[in-house]
Structures are given as structure tokens and as C-alpha cells.
Amino acid sequence: MLKFHQAKLDNGLHIVAESSDTARSVAFGFFIRTGGRDELGPEIGLSHFLEHMMFKGTDRRSAHDVNREFDEMGAKYNAFTSNENTVYYGNVLPEFLPRLADLLADMMRPSLRQEDFDMEKKVILEEMAMYEDLPQHDLADKALKTHFGEHGLGNPVIGTKQSITGLTSAQMRDYFSRRYAAGNMLAVAAGALDFGQFVDLISERCSQWDKVSAQRDLTPAKPSLGTQTFQKTTLTRQHLLLISPAPSAQDQDRFAAAILANAVGDETGSRYFWALVEPALADVACCAYQPLDGAGMFMSYFCCDPDQAEKVVKIARAELTRFTQDGITPDELARSANKTASALTLSSEVPMGRFVSLGMNWQYLQQYRSLAADLDSIRAVTAEQVNRLARELTIDRTTTVALGPLEKVV
């Protein structure tokens, strides 16, 4: 039995939770409505750098204390930063929830010590080098920049060598005070928990946080739909990314968009699979729907031999055009709905899956959505809805970015 609960502290901090009487663990954490798109001027990469620094200790704890305490609870813990969200979390056995709440809440008010800042800068530069060696990551950063241009959604979350090297701890403190205000944060828990006790835990530790309003610039992006090739002769394969606009995270059409992406480019049984993977023109050909705050995108990724790259792009575009013209078949709609529903059910069986869903729904919709409600929405998608979406969005008009040995891919 799953039950939703919510509360709000006087300083604006929202608390949302879904309790389960069958879960054996509980996931708890903070969502902050901040990421790459909220960075100004030279701040590129700051949200992610700050995420690392949040583990470096507080007035009450050293960096080692933070790591040690997580491990003393046997927690599965980490954090991630995207263009729009920064999330800190731990998954623990229920008896450790009070201790986890104390630790994570304390971490949300960090010391940001200069010596830690200097040491962690080295780690960030190493992480950047790691992504540079992984063409999928490298390509995604380049493609977002090409697609979104100077809009904040085009900022690389990891930053650039130049931006990270130039950042100061004073800039970080300033960004922290602007973005980590109580009203811009959300405490989320899912799994085995007592909500009354949970609110007391959060209230005791977070009530004194300042109430500062934090805004996000929601100026709509103007995607370029341009084409660009980045040559890297040390790569063996050609990596390709096509991006086109899609419904936002707030749009009623988001479930139809998820089904559209699945029908076009799921790993199995999709249009891309039959046109590109089955005949071995590419070993990877997939399409994902990425909903964003007031924006959205379909992203198609392909990995192929360089001498097949032109053909792969041509066929992929032709498949998108054909989908736009002919529409989804009843069989495709049923299969994609089943796969999407099944994946959601599986991920929801563990508290971490519900934690992410609960937090993201609140961030984008200020709304609780049960698993059953999401499954109903998936089942309710019609062929007409998917086809209208494909036509209106002209999904075959894409930003096309290539990375690999070729000098140019048209």
C-alpha cells in the first residue's frame, strides 16, 4: 500500500513523500531546482562543481566524516547534476533514516573551504578528461551547444577547461546563496517511512534555512536545427546525434512523446532497429525523449562505421519522415505502450525508482503522480495523438552533429 504525503515549512521548503508498507528500505534526498541552464556568464560548470563540494564537509563535519557516516549506514548514496536539477540522495535501511536526514540536511549548508575547493578542482578536471575519452558524452555536449546555441540549455553541465580553471570559491559561495534557498529546494522520501516523524526530522534541521527567492530564466530556446561535424581522428567509429524539439515536462503530450520515441528508436522492434541495426548498418541506433522545463527534445544516437555514416543519417531521416507521413501502426502503439508501462513498473518496485519519479514530478508539475496514474496516462495515448505530435513537431527536421574520424558528414 503506497500513500502520498506533503508538507511545507515556513521558509518555503516543500517536503513530499510516498510511504510503502512493503518496502525494505527508504530513499531520501534533496532536489534543488538548479543546473547548467541557471549559470550566468563565467559560471559554466559551477552547479556540478558545487555538487562535488557539498560532500566536502560542514561546520560539524569534515569531508571524511561525511563519507564515513554514509558508509556507516551502509547507504547507497550519490548526487547528480543535470541542466535543470541537482539531486543528492541516499538509500538506506529504515532504521537509518534519522541519521541520513541529519547528514544530508547538514550537507546542504556546506563550509565550502578554500583548500577543498582547490583539491576538488583537480578532480573535476579529471572527470572532464574522462568524458573527453567517451565519445557519447563528448558528442552530447557538442550537440546541445549546436542545438541550443547561447541559451542556457546549451551549457555543458561539466563546464569547460577554461571555465573550471577560472572559477573562484567566492563565485561558488555567491551561486550557492542564490540557488540553494529553501524555496528552491525540495525534500523527498520514498519507501519504508513514517511521515510524521520524517517531517519532524526535516523541520528540526531545515527550518532555519533562509527564505530567498530563486528565479529561473524561462526564455524559450530557439533551436538551430543546424549541422556540424567534429573531426577526431583518434576515434574508430563515427558517432552521430540528431536532436529535434519535443513536448516539455509540463506538456500533456509528454506520454505520447515517450511512446513516439519508443516506436521510433527503442533498442528492440523499433523503426530504427529494423532499418539500421537488423541489417547491421549501425550497432547502436536509438531514440530517447528528454522532457525539460518549458522545452523538450528527441535525441537519436547512432554509432557506425565511418563509411556508413552518410547512409545511416539518410536512412534515419527517411524513417522520421515516413513516421511523420504514415503515422504509428496500432501494433506499434500497443507494443510501445506495453514496453513503456513495463519499464516504469519495474523501476517503481524499488524505493529509488519512486524517489526519482516523486521528486521530478514535483519539480516540474508541483503534483503527485502515483504509478497507477502514470500507467493510466500511458495506456490512454492514442495513435492520433502520436501522429499529430510527429506532424506538428516535424520530427524529421533535426540538428545533426557528428563526431569521429570523418572530416564532414552531411
Binding site: F70, M130, C303
Partner: protein
């Protein structure tokens, strides 16, 4: 702690079904382990099992390729399949109500694939491409290279094969491998989640009872090495891989070995993360894990770092490994224990994790351990036990492989 129930049923032909019923889930996950690992690939046809795995999905039983794909997708099946060194894995997860239909389809894929001659070449080409893609993933390339140097042939093979042999691989070789290795004896099917045991047992029996044949005997082991080596490649980071022998799950010291690795790399307070990343900022990713093959345990370590700091990263990592037997605190052991036990309990919430784990247990131990049994065994380990174990099996005799633009000095 553990409300789940474990069932086992073996058919006369050697096929084993193990199942773990889980409360409060609507999904079911299944994992087939077939004795068709890369170690059984013909010596002149390396990569055959990987090609076969793609080929078997191109039509089976009374369904052609599109019909089969449509059926599996229509069931909402999430599929995972791969070739490992010891076996081929065919796994899936879906709503428990659809489990029997999925098993019908998989019985066809495993026993009656069409292996259409005209689709052999795309299957072969896809594996060639996956192999080429490893070149663009330095960490994978390093770890494949490390296993090749640490394990005796054929246990160190790359499951994707080698380019020159794949380029001339014949369909008849791969079809022959299907006849010789997709066989009931030593095949394990593990199911976890929502199911009715009597019905599942009956279903699986009806699908696999009239299947016969014994796979080839275990291949003889050859040589490994060299112990230290370097792969030259222009990359942003130098990749460092280290392997050393440990003990397998059948060994009485197995849990001690797992706890020792957890002290090294169980969380962010583990020794490697603390010494290499936190204190020195040498890298972003550094980790060690305990890896098992039948009758063989191994610790595999990885670090990736900038060229000018790679030597120091290697030196600090090796020093941490070597000093492990010198002493471990009670607090370190306590953290390692709670980390492993919490992982177990959380694994008990996921049907995919439990079916994979039950299949692996049966493969290594010929039985499935309950979560309580594992938890009790972890609890029983004392600091003195861990140190005794490390005296007996110290981190030593390292196989070290680096990848990057500059070769490193490896201490004797």
C-alpha cells in the same frame, strides 16, 4: 529478515530451474545461463558465441524474426542478453502475468532458432562493429586487455572475439556451436518475483524435458600474461588496470575476501577513494571489485587519470593494496559489513537483481543462498579473521596493464 522462498527443480536431462518467490511485486524476472560461454568458442572461430546470440533472435519456433520481436515487445519484456566467458546469458523482466508466454518464446529461441543463412552476415557484422566500438571506450578496452593478460587462455578471451577471425567466420561454424552448446545439461534458469511455483515448475518441465545432449567438456587451460604491459593510444586520461588472485565463492574465506575488497573500495570512505581521490585529487574514478569465475576469485582494480599524474596514481594504488594485510580497524570492518548487508537487503527488493544472483549462485555453488545465510556469514567475520585471510591470500603478484600515450614504471 528474508520473507522470500526459494525452490529448485532439476530435470532428468540436467536442466535446473531455481526460483525465488518475492512478496509485494507484480513483476517477474528470468535469467537463463547456457553453457555457451566464449571459452567454448572454437579456437579459430573466436566470437562465435556472440554472433550466435544475435542470430538466435532472428526467428525461432513457428515465428519469423519480425513476429518474434513483435511478440516479445508486446509482452512488455525488458530484454538483456550477453555472452560472458563462461556462459551465454538470456534474461528478461516483465509483469508476472506474462511470464509463461515469455518462457514459451525463449524455449523456441534457445532450442529451435531458425538461424536463417541470409541473416548470418548481419549478425557477424554487428559483432564486428561492437568489437570496433570497444576502441572508442578506453576503460572497456583496458579491462578486456587486463583479463586477457591475467587469466589463462581461454578464460581471458574477449567474448566479442577477434577481428581477423570474425572477418572470415562461417555460418556453419556458428550453427555447429549451437548444436554443441545450447544444451540442457548445465543450463540454469532462475526466476524471481511474482509466480505460482507448481504452475511454473510444470511449465518449465513441459518446455525443456524432451531436450537432450551434453555440452563439450571444459577446455584445457593454457598460459596467461604478460604480467605487466602497456597499450599505446592517444587518450585524455591514462587508464590503469590491476588484477590479483583472490578466492572463489566455494572457498571458506569467500566472505572475508569480499569484505577485504569492501574495505578498499566499498564506499567513499574506502581506502582507494580516500587516498587516491580525496587526499590527493589524482583521479575521478578509482575502484576495486571482487570478480568470480568458477573455482576462481580475482580482484580487479581500475583508475583513470591525467598522463602527468598517472605514475603517482599507480604508485599510491599499489601501496594501498600492499598495506591492506598490515591492519584493518574494527570501524572499517563494520562499515564494510553494513555496506554489504544493506546491498543484499536492497537487492531483495528487485526481481532482476534476485534472478541474476540466484542463477549465479547455482552456477558457482549448485544451490541458492538465502539472504539470511549470507547476512549471517558476513556477521560472523572478525577483524582477526580478515587479517588471517589477508596473510594467507595477500594482494600480490599483480597483473598490471596501462593504456595511454605514456608507459608507466611498474615497481618490481
Amino acid at each position: 529478515m528474508d520473507p522470500s522462498k526459494i525452490y529448485t527443480h532439476q530435470l532428468d536431462n540436467g536442466f535446473v530451474l531455481v526460483a525465488e518467490h518475492m512478496e509485494a511485486v507484480s513483476s517477474a524476472s528470468f535469467t537463463f545461463l547456457l553453457p555457451a560461454g566464449a571459452k567454448h568458442d572454437p579456437a579459430d572461430g573466436l566470437g562465435s558465441a556472440a554472433v550466435l546470440l544475435d542470430w538466435v533472435f532472428r526467428g525461432a519456433g513457428n515465428l519469423d524474426s519480425r513476429q518474434l520481436d513483435s511478440l516479445l515487445d508486446g509482452l512488455g519484456l525488458h530484454r538483456e542478453s550477453s555472452v560472458a566467458i563462461e556462459y551465454t546469458v538470456l534474461a528478461g523482466a516483465l509483469l508476472g502475468d506474462n511470464l509463461h508466454q515469455a518462457l514459451d518464446a525463449y524455449a523456441g529461441i534457445i532450442r529451435r532458432p531458425h538461424l536463417p543463412a541470409e541473416r548470418f552476415d548481419p549478425s557477424r557484422q554487428l559483432v564486428l562493429q561492437q568489437l570496433a566500438s570497444q576502441d572508442d571506450d578506453p576503460r572497456s578496452k583496458l579491462m578486456v586487455g587486463l583479463r586477457k593478460r591475467h587469466f589463462p587462455e581461454p578464460l581471458g578471451r574477449n567474448p566479442l572475439g577477434v577481428h581477423d577471425q570474425l572477418s572470415v567466420l562461417q555460418g556453419s561454424t556458428v550453427a555447429d556451436l549451437h548444436q554443441k552448446s545450447y544444451l540442457p545439461d548445465r543450463t540454469i534458469l532462475a526466476v524471481a518475483g511474482s509466480f505460482d511455483w507448481p504452475k511454473l515448475r510444470e511449465k518449465v518441465s513441459s518446455l525443456f524435458t524432451d531436450w537432450s545432449g551434453q555440452p563439450a567438456p571444459e577446455p584445457e587451460l593454457g598460459s596467461a600474461g604478460p604480467k605487466t604491459d602497456h597499450l599505446s593510444q592517444q587518450t585524455a586520461q591514462t587508464q590503469i588496470g590491476i588484477a590479483y588472485d583472490s578466492v572463489p565463492p566455494t572457498h571458506p574465506g569467500y566472505y572475508r575476501a569480499c569484505l577485504a575488497v569492501a574495505v578498499l573500495s566499498g564506499g567513499m570512505s574506502g581506502r582507494l577513494f580516500t587516498e587516491v581521490r580525496e587526499k590527493r585529487g589524482l583521479c575521478y574514478h578509482v575502484a576495486a571489485r571482487h570478480h568470480v569465475l568458477k573455482g576462481r576469485g580475482t580482484v580487479l582494480c581500475y583508475a583513470g587519470t591525467a598522463d602527468d599524474r598517472a605514475q603517482q596514481t599507480l604508485d599510491v594504488t599499489l601501496a594501498e593494496l600492499k598495506r591492506l594485510p598490515e591492519g584493518i580497524t574494527q570501524a572499517e570492518l563494520d562499515r564494510a559489513k553494513i555496506g554489504l548487508k544493506a546491498s543484499l537487503i536492497m537487492q531483495g527488493e528487485s526481481t532482476t537483481a534476485r534472478s541474476a544472483s540466484a542463477a549465479a549462485d547455482y552456477y558457482h555453488l549448485a544451490r541458492v543462498r538465502s539472504l539470511d545465510e549470507i547476512s549471517d556469514a558476513i556477521d560472523a567475520v572478525r577483524v582477526s579473521d580478515l587479517l588471517d585471510h589477508l596473510q594467507q591470500f595477500p594482494p600480490t603478484d599483480f597483473t598490471i596493464l596501462t593504456l595511454g600515450s605514456k608507459k608507466l614504471e611498474v615497481p618490481c
